[in-house]
Each structure stands twice: as structure tokens, then as C-alpha cells.
Amino acid sequence: MLNSQPAESVESTDKPNHGAGGINHPAGSIFFNTIHRKMNHVNLIGKMTSTPRFYEQPSGRKVAQFTMSTNETYLDAEGNTKNKNHWHRMSAWGRWVQVLEELPLVGMEIAIEGKLTTRFYMKGEEKRFISEVEVNDLIIL
């Protein structure tokens, strides 16, 4: 049985490789097997502004929802500095649910890396769309 394992790994290198530009990169590399014709990437640095809300999807996946705000300063027409806050809706699943359950992060500065997703729900007869940022990585600053 042990001898058959290396043979399998050799076989896997023969599989077609969807690396960037059609170049054959070593098989099994997570970087080179990803197709990079499309990309969806969001970075946010700001304050977490709400306690996370947890719920479970019908599939059993646990999801946490919270909001964070990013602060922006700009100059108005008279040259005064103005502050503006943008509120972002965030969603997290997987190991981040556990992190958010255990750590009281509200009001803390965090940095987030994730992707922009859109989903919809039905309110009565009406279809309503929500955009949220799905957390891929989170750092407490």
C-alpha cells in the first residue's frame, strides 16, 4: 500500500494544469493551479461597530454577521477637513466564527481581507439584494 502512494502522486502531475498563461507549473501548488483571469479582492481597515450575529445555514454552516466602519477624511470646497464614515456589512464563516464568538472585538480596530459577494432575500413578494464582504482574513490592530 505504501508503495502505491508515490505512483499516485506521479500520476497527478500528468493532469492538465490550468496555470497562468498556459505555463506548466508544478502540480499540487495552490498558487499556480488558481485561474487568475478573474479577481475579487477587498481590503478594509476600520472599527468593528456591532456585536456579531450568529446563525446557521440549512446546510449546517455557521455564519457570523457584523458591521465595520471605515473612516475617511477629505477637504470640502472651503478647505475644511471633514470626516465621513462608511459602514460595511461583513459576513464570516469557518474558523472566523469561533474567533468572533470568543473575542469581544466590538469597537476595536481591525483589518480585513475578503471578497465582495451579493445575495438576495425575499421580503414578502419583493426580492431584496444585499452586498456583503466575506471575510477571508482578519487582523486585530
Partner: protein, 105 residues
């Protein structure tokens, strides 16, 4: 530096030609939708994720001439939220990406 704290990068295809709005003061806004893949490294069952995107000024001018359905774009910008009144006069919230820099691929 404004996009340091609020930064979005998207590479995808345009869903349709941009909708151009010209303002009296010479301003210009181009609005369009951009499709990226929902699952970036699964080949099968890959439905698009649609993003609504808008751009001002020179970038809008570029999109007006270059933008067509299916054109591939790389976008750098920020996430912006706003409210508008729909046909029935009810308030709706939308999340959009405001383009800062753009490359036609």
C-alpha cells in the same frame, strides 16, 4: 492614500455597455456591471458574481469609448454605500464600487 483603508480590486468582464450620465457642470459618470467568478478555483458550476461599478471624470470618458459588453477590465477603487428611492418611492440601499484606476485588459 484614500483607498488605503478601503480598497477593492476586481478583474472581470463588463455585463453591458456603460450607462453614461453627463452633468451640467461638465461632470460625467459611467455606470456598469462587472462579472467576476463566484468560485475562483473551481472550473465547473461557476456562476458569475455581479458587481455594480461606477466611475467619474476621465475614467468615465475612457469607459464610454472603450467599454462594451464582454470587455475585460481590471479595476482599483473603493466600496461605497448609498440610498436611493425606487419607483414606488421607497428607500433602498445599494453597495457599489467607485473606480479610481482602471486598465482595459
Amino acid at each position: 492614500m484614500q483607498t488605503l483603508k478601503n480598497h477593492v480590486t476586481l478583474i472581470g468582464n463588463m455585463g453591458s455597455a456603460a450607462q453614461i450620465t453627463n452633468f451640467d457642470n461638465g461632470g460625467k459618470v459611467a455606470r456598469f456591471s462587472l462579472a467576476t467568478d463566484k468560485y475562483s478555483n473551481k472550473k465547473e458550476n461557476n456562476e458569475p458574481e455581479w458587481h455594480s461599478v461606477f466611475a467619474w471624470g476621465n475614467v468615465a470618458q475612457f469607459i464610454e469609448s472603450y467599454g462594451k459588453k464582454g470587455k475585460q477590465l481590471a479595476i482599483h477603487g473603493r466600496l461605497v454605500h448609498r440610498t436611493y428611492l425606487n419607483k414606488e418611492g421607497k428607500e433602498r440601499k445599494v453597495t457599489e464600487v467607485e473606480v479610481r484606476h482602471l486598465i482595459g485588459l
